[in-house]
């Protein structure tokens, strides 16, 4: 499947990625499994996605939890807890 991923705030700054297009062999994947795939890239990715930071996820602009399923064509986003208002 092909997906698009966005990163925001502290994640974007530290990972030095604001967005990417990614092709994966799986037909579907949970958000937590995607985090695991990305965490293998380097120690920084490991630390940012699976470390002490709280990381929130969205699929197609909806806040979701770690067990939400990602399928082909989805837009995924990772970011810290929101702090607007």
């Amino acid at each position: 499947m092909k997906i698009k991923i966005f990163y925001f705030a502290r994640l974007k700054e530290t990972l030095k990625f604001s967005s990417e297009d990614l092709e994966l062999p799986e037909a579907e994947l949970s958000l937590i499994k995607l985090k695991g795939v990305l965490a293998k890239r380097s120690e920084v990715w490991q630390k940012m996605l699976l470390g002490n930071l709280k990381v929130r996820g969205a699929i197609n602009h909806e806040l979701v939890d770690d067990h939400a399923l990602i399928v082909d064509g989805d837009e995924v986003a990772f970011f810290p807890p929101v702090t607007g208002g």
Binding site: F6, A9, K54, H61, A77, F79, P80, V82, G84, G85
Partner: protein, 153 residues
């Protein structure tokens, strides 16, 4: 109903005039304005930068307005959030609610702010005398959300 994400400032009177135009059924208007404070956790704040998730932000704000309107008698509502770099005392966010009755206006306005604080994709970075840093989310904001949890967004 109006939601907006913008770098420009907003004008409360202008927004209220628009909502009040040509109608006589509004009995109560409650509005909230959030401002950049010069002090946060004891450090002097020089400026604040607000990042957001362009594709998602307006959808999230619309969902908040819709949910508030389904829970209370809301005749009209406006939700404006600024992004970009702001100085101390500048306006960040406006929530304004028109209703026939004041309890509904107060509750809908508070609800929208509590949801926005924890559900809308905005992130604040502060520049203080000690340098630049991203703000952490506050336990008190998650607590505030708790009281509305009859059903989730």
């Amino acid at each position: 109903m109006k939601v907006a994400v913008q770098s420009e400032d907003f004008d409360l009177n202008l927004e209220l005039s628009r909502m009040r135009a040509a109608r006589n059924d509004i009995g109560a208007i409650v509005s909230f304005i959030g401002l950049v404070r010069d002090l946060n956790d004891g450090a002097a704040v020089t400026q604040l930068t607000l990042e957001h998730y362009p594709g998602m932000t307006e959808k999230a704000l619309l969902a908040i307005v819709k949910e508030a309107s389904s829970r209370w008698d809301v005749l009209d509502a406006t939700l404006i959030h600024r992004v970009g770099t702001l100085q101390a005392a500048e306006q960040i966010v406006l929530v304004a609610v028109c209703s026939a009755h004041r309890e509904h206006a107060f509750l809908a306005c508070e609800f929208m702010m509590d949801y926005l604080k924890t559900q809308a994709p905005f992130w604040k970075k502060e520049l203080t005398e000690n340098g630049e840093h991203w703000l952490d989310d506050k336990a008190s904001d998650h607590d505030a959300l708790g009281r509305w949890k009859t059903n989730d967004l």
